[in-house]
């Protein structure tokens, strides 16, 4: 059993606080991804779990043991680094065996474990090579192999795919997922790439400015973001934010600055009614601004927008338009005719709207 418990953990440097007393419970064998922009404290949090960074407040528990003062070597963890951190003067075999040798494993056991890991990661033919004779993807696999052979209680990944090209990144993402399915081990994974977070995680932890914004399964974060930051960070292309005023004129509406009124679906009216008369922000994902096929569906409202840029992606087309100088995106069928400078009718699916309080930045 290796659950990880982070309780009121803080990290303060001389001039600023990188992590502000965060709490997070990670279950045994769970795959948790910490995601957020650069400088949000996710890597610092991971390094504190690893023991590479001292904590200035709070407690970290691994498998029921308080590890605040336990050095990294005694935490029974393994870590994969962004730049692989392979020992350049050792062969692939020696890189993977180094930790086992230090722990005085018998030679046969070391060989067996390295061979097993090499088989899982398809490294068997590369065991005699030095890291500089490997490609980026192979190096990353060796780094994972070095972690796997130890059979640790917790795997820690610090942006492991950032140095790979886009194609290899997708491939390695699948590889990591497969490894976790083969060897289910508690995993904490740090990335700034929300697609990696969504595809890998059992639960995603969104961090911003050293605080946790929201924790939840990927789909929940996507469909029910708690804050404006999470709403904007999760999803690609990002959610559109429209400045609106909530009005009550026999029914609840949100009104754009240009005067366009969009009716709020009745099932949401009760929730939003207390905000009538207030300036709020309307959040709509690009896939909820589409061509007008579904215009008859309840809750779907027709709007017209001036097309700015059209981006055909193959299976879909992104249409960018400006509202109040802010760029918005609609995701339409490739067959839809859209040209820059023309007006395009779109269907706004208000059933999936998000209303954000401008003061608290919380989704209401």
């Amino acid at each position: 059993m290796a659950e990880v418990s982070i309780r009121k953990v803080e990290k303060a440097y001389e001039t600023y606080k990188a992590v502000h007393g965060i709490d997070l419970e990670i279950a045994d064998k769970e795959f948790v991804v910490l995601v957020g922009p650069s400088g949000c404290g996710k890597s610092t949090t991971l390094r504190m779990v690893a023991g590479l960074e001292e904590i200035t407040g709070g407690e970290i528990w691994i498998g029921g043991d308080l590890v605040n003062d336990v050095p990294p070597r005694d935490r029974d963890i393994a870590m994969v680094f962004q730049n692989y951190a392979l020992y350049p003067h050792m062969t692939v075999f020696d890189n993977m065996a180094f930790g086992l040798k230090l722990r005085k494993f018998p030679r046969e056991e070391i060989k067996k474990r390295v061979d097993d890991a090499a088989r899982i990661l398809d490294l068997t033919t590369l065991l005699d090579r030095r890291p500089k004779a490997l490609s980026g993807g192979q190096r990353q696999r060796v780094a994972m192999g070095r972690a796997i052979v130890r059979n640790p209680r917790v795997f820690l990944f610090d942006e492991p795919l950032s140095n790979l090209d886009a194609k290899l990144r997708v491939q390695m993402r699948t590889e990591i997922k497969k490894v976790h399915q083969t060897i289910p081990t508690t995993t904490v994974y740090v990335t700034h790439d929300q697609i990696e977070a969504m595809t890998l995680a059992d639960r995603v932890v969104v961090m911003n400015f050293g605080r946790i914004e929201q924790v939840g399964p990927p789909q929940e974060l996507y469909h029910n973001p708690a804050t404006r930051f999470v709403a904007g960070f999760i999803g690609s292309p990002a959610m559109n934010f429209f400045p609106v005023k909530v009005t009550n004129e026999g029914g609840l509406y949100v009104q754009w600055p240009g005067g366009v009124k969009l009716a709020v679906p009745p099932q949401r009216a009760n929730r939003y009614a207390p905000y009538a008369g207030k300036e709020m922000t309307l959040g709509l994902r690009p896939e909820h601004l589409t061509e007008t096929h579904d215009i008859e569906k309840p809750g779907v409202v027709r709007i017209e927008v001036p097309v700015d840029v059209v981006e055909p992606m193959g299976m879909e087309t992104m249409v960018h338009f400006l509202v109040n100088g802010e760029e918005m995106t609609a995701r339409v069928d490739p067959a839809t005719h859209a040209a820059p400078g023309e007006m395009l009718p779109l269907a706004a699916d208000m059933n999936n709207m998000h209303l954000i309080d401008n003061e608290s930045n919380k989704v209401v």
Partner: protein, 277 residues
């Protein structure tokens, strides 16, 4: 670039290299030839080949300059001092490159400030210290000062090299289960190898050639090194130049051999850390 321009630049480059070779090789050739001359031959025919090749210069030098004692002494003193100062420099350099504390910079400056202190300035306190420690007559009287005096250059060369080694490497080793000592020995030290070779050669050359310290503190014959032994042939009224040069040839040979064996690491070490790679 035209063929003519290529040829002209080739000629210039080769000419320059040939000139440099002459500057380096002429004294060596002169030294070897002179080592086979008798004293009258040396003065009457200083630049030509010996009129008679005096091989006895080598046997006499071996016996009279006690090369049989001073050569092993020089080898032991230089080898132990080089190993000691290189290893300690590497430890200091690693520590100085890793700790971002205000003291690290001050310590670094203190270390390399040692290069500004001339040996003549410290020789008297060194003499008193070694006498108090009872090290006179032992090779430690030379080894310990050499190690200390080798540190500034070692720290100067190795600190920037250590600073370029990614921190993730030591973090990875830490998580793999290594303590600081093992990280240094198994990860950091092997990666600093080119720099270590450069430090070893640069320090080794002066330790091998050092004359002043052994002259003052190694006055017992059994603890003398080659440079002091060679001086025995330089008299007030006459000097046995053939014997001096024969001794110098014997003294130089190990250095040239060491340099030839380590040229590649030496060059790599001098440029290491210059470019992030």
């Amino acid at each position: 670039m035209t063929r003519r321009a290529v040829r002209a630049s080739d000629v210039a480059r080769h000419g320059l290299l040939a000139g440099a070779c002459v500057v380096v090789l002429v004294p060596i050739v002169y030294m070897v030839i002179a080592s086979f001359k008798s004293v009258p031959d040396f003065f009457t025919n200083p630049y030509g080949l010996p009129s008679r090749w005096v091989w006895e210069n080598y046997t006499r030098a071996w016996n009279e300059a006690k090369i049989g004692i001073t050569l092993p002494n020089s080898i032991i003193v230089t080898a132990v001092s080089v190993l000691g100062s290189t290893f300690l420099s590497a430890m200091a350099a690693y520590g100085l490159s890793r700790r971002e504390r205000p003291l690290a910079m001050a310590l670094y400056l203190l270390f390399i400030g040692g290069m500004l202190v001339p040996v003549q300035m410290i020789v008297l306190p060194l003499f008193i210290l070694l006498r108090t420690l009872g090290l006179f007559g032992t090779l430690f009287a030379l080894i310990l000062p050499y190690i200390a005096l080798g540190l500034p250059l070692g720290v100067l060369i190795l600190t920037p090299i250590a600073a370029t080694l990614p921190r993730d490497l030591s973090d990875a080793a830490r998580i793999d289960g290594a303590r600081e000592w093992r990280i240094f020995l198994h990860i950091i030290l092997p990666l600093m190898r080119p720099g270590l070779a450069a430090v070893a050669i640069l320090n080794g050359v002066w330790m091998w050639n050092e004359f002043f310290i052994p002259l003052v503190v190694a006055f017992k014959p059994q603890s003398q090194t080659m440079p002091v032994g060679i001086v025995a042939f330089i008299g007030t009224y006459s000097t046995e130049w053939g014997l001096v040069f024969a001794s110098v040839v014997v003294a130089t040979a190990p250095l040239i051999l060491a340099y030839l064996l380590m040229t590649r690491q030496f060059v790599a070490g001098l440029t290491a850390g210059a470019v992030r790679g």
